[in-house]
Amino acid sequence: MASQNHDWVLDHLPSGNRLIVRLCWIASFSAIITALVLPLGYVVIGYQHQVNLVETDASVKAAALTEIAAESPELWRYQIQRVEEVLQRQVVVLEHAMLLVYDAEDHLLFSTGQRPVSPIVRRAMPIIESGRAVGRIEILHSFRKELMRTAIVALLGLLLGGLIYVTLRSLPQRALRRLTKELMEQQARYLAAVESSTEGYMLLDAEGAFLEVNAAMCLLTGYSRSKLTHMKIAALEANDVDCKFLERDGPADNQRFETRWEKIDGTLIDVEVSATYLAQDGGRQFCFVRDITDRKRSEEAIWMQANFDALTGLPNRRMFHDRLAQELKKAHRASLQAALLFIDLDHFKEINDTLGHGKGDLLLTEAARRISGCIRETDTVARLGGDEFTVVLAEVDDGGVVARVAQNILLKLTAPFMLGGQIGRISASIGIAIYPSDASTADELLKKADQAMYAAKHQGRNQYSYFPADRRLSVRRLSFK
C-alpha cells in the first residue's frame, strides 16, 4: 500500500519529481539571470552615466570655448589662460580625464591630463564661431574604474545568484516534500478508508474501464482486483440498457442511481451507485457502490403484500382497482369496450366447513390458477377477498369474446378440485358489466358487475349474467354439471 501511495503521488502530482526538476531549472535560471543582469545592468548604466558626464563636460566647455572664440575669432587659440581655465573647470567629476582642444585643421592646441587607461569613453564637441566649426574639444575618460566596480558587482551578483539558487531550490523543495508527505498521508488515510469501506469503491476512466477498486468491490462482484482492473463497467451491467456511467451532463455532474449487476457466478444483485465526475485525464468517475439487493427484495415483498393476494398470488383489491382504472383509461383512449367479470364461487363455504380452511385455501389457489388460464395475457385476474374474484377484459371489440371467457371460466371451475386426497366440487356465479355502456367509472362498473353476479346467483348459480339482467338474454346456465 505504501508503494502504491508513493506511485500515486508521483503519477498524480506533476509537481512531484518533474516539479523538483522544474524548480531546479527555475532556480538555476533565476540565479544566472541575477548573476548576469546585475553586473550587466551596472556596467550599462555606469557606461551611460560616464558618457553623460563626459558629454556634459564637453558640452559645457565647448560652449565656454565658443564664447572665447566669438570674442576673438582669429586669436582665440592664443588666449591660453582663459582656455586653460575653461579646461580646468570642474563641471562634473571626471577623475583622470584627458582634455584635448583642436583647431579646425585638426591641430592639437591644448591638452590637459594624462592619456587615461583603456577602455576609454571619448566624446567630442565642436567649437562654433559664426556658424562654422573653428575647432573641437575632445574629452577622454577611462572606464576602467567602472569595470572594476562592475567586477565587484558581478561578484555580488554571483553571491546573490547563489543565494537565490539555494533559496529557490531548497525552500520550495522543502515545502513540496512536506506537501507530498501530507498528500501521501492523506492518500494513505483515504485508501485505508476506501479499502476498509463496506461499500464498493471504483474509479473509472472515460471509457468505463476500472482504474481502481477496493476489496468490498471485489466481494460485491466476485471478481478479483486484477480481473476488475482489466474490465469495463459495462461487463457487469445486467440490464440491457445504455451504461449510466457513460452518461455525462456536465463536468461537475454528480449522480446517484440504481442498477442491476451480474456477479461472476451469474447472480444478479441490485446496487446503488453514487458517482462523481472528475474532469481530469479526460474524465474520471469516482464511485461508491452499495448492495441494495436485500432492500430491493424487501421493498418488492412489501409491494407484493400491499398489492397481491398472499394465498393465490393474484392482484388484490388495491391492485385490482389500479388495473381497472388503467384499463378503463386505455379503453377510453382507444374508443373500445372493457368488460368486468365479477366471479363468486358457489358453495365455497360448504367446502370450508366440511373439508377445513386448509382445503379451502387449496381450492382457492387452484381456482385462481384455472381462472388465470382462461384469459389473455393483457387481461387481469384479481382476488377481491374470500371467494370473490374479478377479471378485467381489456380492449373488447367483440361481445362474443366476453361470453366465451365467462363460459370457459364456468366450465373450468366446475371441474373437480383435488384437495389433498379429497375431491371438492364447486361452481361459480359471474356478473358482467361493460364499460362504457354499463358504467363510466370503475366503482360504478364494479357495482354493476356485482349486481349482475347476484342476479346470476339468484337465477340458480353456475351461470353468468350481464348487467342489467333483464335487458339481455344474459343468464347462461351450464347445462352440464
Partner: protein
C-alpha cells in the same frame, strides 16, 4: 597688411600703458596702424608672436626655457611694483605678510571695520600667483588653501581682477602699480610690511616685489620681413617720449 599695420597683444598687466604708448606712437607715425589684441596673456602673446599671429607681444615675465628656444627676441622695457590692492574708498592703507597669509588662509575673515574679506584669486599658472606664492612659505600655504576653498572669486585677466577689486565689497587681490595708474582705476595699493609700492622707493630699494615687463618679437620675422614698424615702436617705447609715459604710469626703467 604687414607694411602699415602693427598687431600687438599680450598680458593685461601693462595693457593700459601700451595703449597710451600706442596712442602717442600713432600720433607720431600716422602711416602705421596699431591694432591691440587684449587678453592673450603672457603665454598666449609669446605663442602668437611665435606663430606669426601678432607682430609684437608685451608680457609681464621673462621668457621661460621653452619659449627661449623659439627664436624670439625679448626686450625688458620696464618694471612695475607688484601690489596688494583694495577699493579706493576702503578704510585700509597697509598690510603685513602675516595678515596676507591669514587672509588667504581664511583665518582672517573680516576687516577691522567688521566687513567681510573677499579674496580675488588669479589662475594658478598666472605670473601674479607665482609671484604671490614666492613672497613667503606662509603666504604660499595661505594661497594654496584659498585655491582649494570653494566660492573664492577667480579672475582670469588682469583687467578682470581690477574690475572685481573695484566692484566686490571688501575685496583684496594682487595687481600692479602700472595697471592702477595707466587705467586710472578706483583702487589703491597697500603698503606692504610698512613699505609703499612707489617707484621712488624702488629706487631706494625699499619695496621688494616687482614684475618685469618685456616686448617680444620674432627674430625671423624681423629678419625676413619689413620690420620698420616693429623697430619704430620699440624705439619709441625706449625713447624719452616713451620713458616719460612709463615713468608717469608707475614704471621703473631698466
Amino acid at each position: 597688411m604687414w607694411a602699415g599695420e602693427l598687431k600687438i597683444g599680450g598680458g593685461g598687466t601693462d595693457l593700459g600703458t601700451i595703449k597710451l604708448l600706442a596712442k602717442e606712437f600713432s600720433a607720431k607715425y600716422a602711416d602705421i596702424q596699431i591694432r591691440l589684441v587684449p587678453n592673450l596673456g603672457s603665454s598666449g602673446g609669446v605663442k602668437a608672436v611665435a606663430d606669426g599671429a601678432i607682430n609684437l607681444a608685451f608680457i609681464s615675465r621673462p621668457l621661460n626655457a621653452a619659449e627661449a628656444l623659439l627664436g624670439l627676441s625679448a626686450i625688458e622695457y620696464a618694471r612695475t611694483p607688484f601690489v596688494f590692492a583694495v577699493a579706493a574708498n576702503a578704510n585700509l592703507s597697509e598690510i603685513t605678510r602675516h595678515e596676507v597669509a591669514a587672509i588667504y588662509a581664511g583665518k582672517q575673515a573680516s576687516w577691522p571695520d567688521g566687513s567681510l574679506v573677499r579674496i580675488v584669486l588669479r589662475p594658478r599658472n598666472d605670473s601674479d600667483t607665482q609671484l604671490l606664492k614666492s613672497i613667503s612659505s606662509e603666504i604660499r600655504q595661505g594661497v594654496l588653501a584659498a585655491e582649494s576653498r570653494p566660492g573664492v572669486k577667480l579672475a582670469l585677466t588682469d583687467q578682470g581682477a581690477a574690475d572685481d577689486l573695484e566692484k566686490i565689497p571688501g575685496a583684496i587681490g594682487t595687481t600692479t602699480l602700472a595697471l592702477l595708474l595707466s587705467e586710472d582705476r578706483r583702487l589703491k595699493s597697500l603698503r606692504f610690511d610698512g613699505k609703499a609700492p612707489a617707484v621712488g622707493n624702488r629706487a631706494a630699494g625699499d619695496y621688494p616685489f616687482f614684475k618685469q615687463l618685456f616686448l617680444v618679437a620674432d627674430k625671423q620675422h624681423i629678419e625676413k620681413r619689413n620690420t620698420v614698424a616693429i623697430e619704430r615702436f620699440i624705439a619709441f617705447v625706449l625713447s624719452p617720449a616713451g620713458k616719460k609715459i612709463l615713468l608717469s604710469t608707475g614704471h621703473l626703467l631698466p
